[in-house]
């Protein structure tokens, strides 16, 4: 972890009609860290994600990534500039094979298009091979290479969750946003996932993690940001946040393992 700011989520307000989902939220993510983003249901975590990845245009505020403003960029341009994400409810391309799913992500970095594909130029073939090799590598990294040729919809739940991460990683992001990757996992699986996320971080990726399960978040996050009702109420090291009275109040009545 360095002190270099990778993503600067600057004073963002997001309103839907009359409802304010985020209110003047500022978050900084440093290169190489795992930042945990927590908060009760409806606190605005996924909205944060959606603003970062261009799904929503914020009503106010800017998102700076690597020093440039990405607020107005199109979604695919944001991905190509280095932010990738997974989804809270799995959104794989279910009719495609696992490896094809990952290849779609890998293609984000490729340039050959229709004419090249039609002519099968040398570069196109090289790129296809690169995409394929990289995708298989990522599937292996996630431990799901054995089902590479199966349709995504036929994969077991845990595989699908990990496939989403592989697909996101294939876009070669600098920042990886994981939206509740451990949802629906049992403790053993969660443990595996924790190790996986740490491994990813150690490969040089920056990770933004939304998680319900406090144990997961506290265990692996370098820093934690807490949202409640669309406002940032706390930020800091896991230990500090855990003892923050505002956070305790926000979570009162919500058991730690609410996921």
């Amino acid at each position: 972890m360095t002190n270099e700011v990778l993503l600067d989520f600057n004073n963002v307000t997001m309103q839907f009609g009359g409802v304010t989902a985020l209110s003047e939220v500022s978050v900084k993510i440093f290169r190489g860290e795992i930042l945990g983003l927590i908060g009760p249901n409806g606190a605005g975590k996924t909205t944060c994600f959606n603003v970062m990845t261009g799904v929503y245009q914020p009503t106010q505020g800017t998102v700076m990534f690597n020093g440039s403003d990405i607020t107005k960029l199109k979604r695919y341009e944001i991905t190509q500039s280095g932010i990738a994400r997974t989804f809270q409810n799995i959104r794989l391309f279910s009719e495609m094979t696992a490896v094809e799913n990952v290849m779609v992500g890998a293609d984000a970095r490729k340039t050959s298009s229709i004419p090249a594909s039609l002519l099968r130029t040398k570069r196109q073939r090289t790129e296809e091979k690169e995409s394929y090799d990289r995708s298989m590598e990522l599937l292996a990294l996630m431990g799901i290479a054995d089902r590479a040729s199966d349709a995504a919809r036929n994969l077991p739940y845990g595989y699908q969750r990990r496939l989403e991460i592989a697909r996101a990683l294939a876009t070669e992001p600098e920042l990886l946003c994981l939206d509740e990757p451990a949802a629906g996992f049992n403790p053993a699986e969660k443990q595996e996932l924790n190790e996986l996320i740490l491994k990813i971080r150690d490969q040089g990726y920056t990770v933004l993690l939304i998680e319900h399960d406090m144990n997961v978040v506290m265990k692996i996050s370098d820093r934690v940001t807490v949202l409640d009702f669309g406002r940032k109420i706390a930020e800091g090291l896991p230990q500090e946040v855990r003892e923050n009275p505002d956070v305790i109040a926000a979570y009162l009545g919500v058991p730690d393992d609410a996921a």
């Binding site: 779609v104 594909s117 876009t171």
Partner: protein, 361 residues
């Protein structure tokens, strides 16, 4: 009941067995198999003479080889093109007949109405113009969601037909006659009566289109299209420039539709707005979905069925359309994914594998 189920499964496993057997053969054997199949297709005009299966394929009341070209080839080409738009990219296009008409009209205008270019020169222009029209129509409309797109494309199909019907420049309701024909090559004479050369030309075009589309499908382009069809938002968030690829799908579909129209115009020599009714768009779509959308063999089969069946069963002429309608409902009830549903391809994995070995299953 359970016995029925078992029978059903047997039937399927038999089918799978043939497939496995096919895969187990050597490359040479497979290639020679393909070559023989292709040759058999080129000899299709003589199929009705084959004892045994002749009665099955023959079309009583109409000339079989004319049906092969004017109906079957046209529908197969169109189904292939529309399959890119609807089956692969998941864009519901109810006005596809418009592109078909553009192709035919460009050839008509360039070879007869306002110029007398040879057909062979007009053909690529027709394809390009259709593609351009696809881009022009697609640019404003592809931002619309699925069903809005459907009604807007339907409107475009109608706009093109009505314009052709009312613009004197396009021959209005008189249509365009004396459209140029493909140049004769050696003994192959593209005349008025013998439809066989047109069929062979059309079949060659089909192979060409299949080849090109196969290359696109088996590349990043095909993956992008499928991803868009499966989940457009997720695709965009994975870095797919969805608008660009949707526009490409639209343009390529339009180009193939235009090619079909140009081939048709060259064959029949006369086109009028009555050749391009809105209902034809719906038949085209039916061909794609009936056969199995998103799957080239399916689209081809669907095209063949929709074109050939009505001619085969000409003997109950007045009930043909009724039967067609009921059959559409029945096929959708019994096989909602079409006659040849698309299967998840495993080929990508095997073919592009870096070390040439098949990926462990």
């Amino acid at each position: 009941m359970s016995q029925l189920l078992i029978l059903w499964k047997r039937f399927y496993s038999l089918f799978a067995g043939v497939q496995a057997h096919w895969k187990s053969m050597s490359r040479v054997q497979r290639l020679s198999g393909y070559a023989l199949a292709v040759l058999a297709l080129y000899l299709a005009p003589w199929w009705p003479k084959i004892p045994g299966i002749g009665w099955l394929v023959n079309t009583p009341g109409t000339q079989f080889s004319t049906v092969l070209n004017d109906q079957v080839i046209i529908f197969v080409l169109v189904a292939l093109g529309l399959n890119v738009v609807v089956g692969l990219a998941g864009l519901l296009d109810l006005g596809y007949v418009g592109f078909y008409a553009v192709g035919a009209y460009v050839v008509g205008v360039l070879t007869s109405q306002h110029a007398s270019l040879p057909w062979i020169v007009a053909l690529p222009i027709a394809v390009l113009v259709s593609m351009l029209v696809g881009v022009i129509l697609g640019t404003p409309t592809l931002r619309l969601r699925g069903d809005y797109l459907a009604i807007v494309t339907l409107g475009f199909g109608e706009i093109i037909r009505i314009s052709a019907k009312n613009l004197d420049w396009l021959g209005a309701s008189r249509g365009i006659s004396d459209i140029g024909k493909p140049p004769s090559i050696g003994p192959l004479k593209f005349g008025v009566i013998d439809p066989k050369p047109y069929y062979w030309l059309g079949l060659t075009l089909v192979f060409l289109v299949v080849f090109c589309l196969y290359r696109l499908e088996e590349s990043r382009v095909g993956r992008a299209w499928t991803a868009i069809r499966e989940d457009e938002d997720a695709a965009e968030l994975m870095g797919v420039n969805t608008f660009k690829f949707k526009l490409w799908a639209f343009a390529i579909g339009a180009a193939v539709g235009g090619l079909a129209g140009a081939h048709y115009a060259g064959k029949v020599g006369f086109i009028s707005p009555d050749n391009f009714p809105l209902q034809l768009s719906i038949l085209f779509l039916a061909a794609v979905v009936l056969g199995g959308s998103g799957n080239m063999p399916g689209a081809i089969l669907g095209g063949i069925m929709v074109a050939w069946l009505p001619e085969r069963f000409r003997n109950f002429t007045d009930k043909r359309v009724l039967v067609f309608g009921i059959a559409l409902v029945l096929v959708m009830v019994f096989r909602p994914e079409g006659l040849l549903p698309r299967r998840v391809r495993t080929k990508t994995a095997m073919r592009t594998s870096s070390d040439g070995k098949e990926v462990a299953q």
